[in-house]
Symmetry: C2
Subunit: 415 residues, 2 copies
């Protein structure tokens, strides 16, 4: 990768550098001679520089910022003052703002003189003498009118959408989707325009958010970098925590089952159905959990809808369970015709398995759907109710349901 | 919702209509008086109209298209000719194209006259007499030069990025991310410019793709609409297929376990560890599968990396398994001090559990990581190797591993 910077001219190399993964950027930085490194950092757009700096160890950052020229340093440091995951970290101060008493011709001349350093000129911002945002005007609106006779004040309608500097980055995606904009202004509490966020940065945020969600649903903590970039030790750390939590959860199944050792001793066959029963509960729970987590991520449902969701999931759980119950009756009956493994009481066995399936599927569905809502209500990330987590919760209760039905249907016959 | 169209003026109502879910749009369409419906359809941008029409039943679509004015009908029909999920379905033909011998002043006048119906004027397209794409020029480049003396040909460098009309929509997101554009031109095999795709449409595609992936990872087929919009029967259909497939997969665990009924009959305690063992395998498999699926979705890894991935996962699986093995030794030993449930051979029991954990975690990790790669190699969607699917596969083999270690360590002692 280093060779790149030696054979390409600087602007070209910079363009390549900007789209590299942060991991590779870091490696490059360590290899580059200092004078070239400073040139790169100075020429990076402030938002890209901030995201690079926030990934580097803090002592490396300090050394690097010292090497920026004074103006660039000020910009970078002010961007770094906002909390991670906030809109402040995403914004760039390279935009064009104009005053409302200018003519369109003045605006176009101003763009011609100062537009080169702006991240986008697709939207122009109108501010007052204090720097407070009055409106945003799309460049098309300037081009569609007569430049000599029209003033900026003729084009503004005061209806603009802005982001607050402390807003969560996650929510910007929906604001962009709903409003058909390529850039949005960022303001502080006093409506002072601080910077803009461009839609291409939001695409990256969206990708990162979804990646985090998918990794959490799969039961690992989110990786810091791409799969092949992170060290094996990092992979281990991000996975072992949940594996240990789930392991201790599963220890409860041992306690649960040790209550039924007598029953298993009498009817060993009961043990053979355990994986089938608890997996069916886990599977239906995983389905419900991912449906609800994703619907919440898309704002299709909120915690207030819990009762509507619960009603839907009770009906879904019952019908799904009934279907598996029917299948298990058919399978056990057919199985009995070919080989009498289940003995003369095969219909009672089928009843134990079938009714347990209705119970665990219904229970799994309810747990899977309600847990993400509960986590959200408690202020946690709903995606933490990962599929392995739901499956483990359902395992313990699934065993209790199963052995209760076993005692109910087999008491006095086999037990 | 219907009231909306009665109380708002038409343009405002249209703006609201555009951002509604397709399900609600359909309901509205059925309720609207015909003259208002035709007005809406005629005024929708072609790309939004296409996405609405492709969701409606085809006989409803036919009736509706008849009611469009001839020009709009032609546009809509030509958009509908491209396969679903293709770039052709996403594009709009409302763009501005200019010729290379025009002066910038001519271009700006042309924009003033024809720019109103264009979806974006942030990028202007340069075509030759046949309509073939020569270059795209950002509007800023026109504004930064002297309009009288500069010609379009002075601004072009022939380096443009275009999408092919049959490209997969999924891939457009990465093209936008990498190239910092708000719109991209769409061409056919002969490089004829057919339309443009704007970045806001890509945000919706990205959201849909991720939703599909997350639902598949959770073991359901993707829903057609938002969770509360679809019927309960639809919810049932999308979940039952995988539940039945997994159920039949789990039937194999019965076959596997029936081979070990003698062992369970002799040492009933063996049954109590089954949920712990198979869940640990399932959990580690789920983790590996989601990490690999997501890394593939982000193009961080490809099938060709399988050997590097396998090496990483073997090391990860072994270290994760060793950790759980250590914990289980500690837990069983402590447990033994407080209550002698495991008998005098508790260390042998611990060995069975501990070594089985190493085996199933390693096996789960390998299955979880290799299955998505295998599915991709076979041309299927890697996300189909859902966490429940991996867990079910690992259940059967996990039982075999467990009972093999049981026989190895307990033969002649308890068995």
């Amino acid at each position: 990768m280093y060779v790149l910077f030696q054979i390409l001219d600087f602007q070209r190399a910079l363009a390549v550098f900007r789209i590299l993964d942060v991991g590779i950027q870091e490696d490059l930085i360590k290899q580059l001679p200092p004078h070239q490194l400073i040139q790169i950092l100075n020429d990076l757009p402030p938002d890209d520089r901030t995201s690079l700096l926030s990934e580097l160890p803090s002592n490396v950052v300090k050394d690097l910022i010292k090497q920026l020229n004074p103006e660039e340093r000020k910009v970078t440091l002010s961007l770094l003052g906002y909390p991670e995951e906030s809109v402040g970290r995403l914004m760039t101060p390279d935009y064009i703002d104009v005053e409302q008493d200018w003519t369109v011709e003045q605006v176009l001349t101003y763009i011609r003189d100062y537009g080169k350093s702006s991240e986008t000129i697709d939207v122009i911002y109108v501010t007052d003498a204090n720097g407070a945002l009055i409106d945003d005007v799309r460049i098309r609106d300037f081009l569609l009118v007569d430049p000599k006779t029209t003033r900026v004040s003729d084009l503004i309608d005061g209806r603009f959408i802005s982001l607050h500097v402390n807003d969560d980055q996650k929510e910007t995606m929906q604001v962009f989707q709903m409003n058909n904009r390529v850039a949005l202004p960022v303001v502080d509490d006093k409506n002072i325009l601080l910077g803009i966020v461009t839609i291409d940065d939001v695409l990256w945020v969206a990708e990162e958010e979804y990646t985090e969600d998918i990794q959490m649903i799969g039961g690992t903590e989110a990786l810091d970098d791409s799969y092949l970039e992170v060290s094996i030790f990092h992979l281990y750390k991000r996975r072992i925590v949940w594996l240990i939590v789930l392991f201790f959860g599963e220890l409860l199944t041992i306690t649960a089952m040790s209550n039924f050792e007598d029953q298993i001793a009498k009817v060993v066959m009961l043990a053979t159905f355990i994986p089938l029963i608890i997996s069916s509960g886990g599977n239906s729970g995983s389905q419900a959990a991912t449906l609800i987590i994703q619907a919440m991520a898309l704002d299709e449902i909120s915690v207030r809808d819990w009762w509507r969701i619960m009603r839907r999931e009770i009906i879904s759980g019952l019908t799904l369970g009934l279907t598996l119950c029917t299948i298990s009756f058919v399978v056990i009956t057919c199985w009995h015709w070919f080989s009498p493994a289940f003995g003369i009481h095969y219909l009672r066995i089928a009843a134990v398995v079938g009714f347990s399936l209705i119970g665990v599927v219904l229970w799994g569905t309810l747990m899977g759907s309600m847990l993400p809502l509960l986590l959200k209500r408690l202020g946690a990330d709903p995606a933490a109710s990962s599929t392995p987590f739901v499956a483990t919760l359902v395992d313990v209760t699934g065993l209790l349901i199963y052995f209760s039905f076993a005692i109910l249907f087999l008491k006095g016959v086999l037990l």
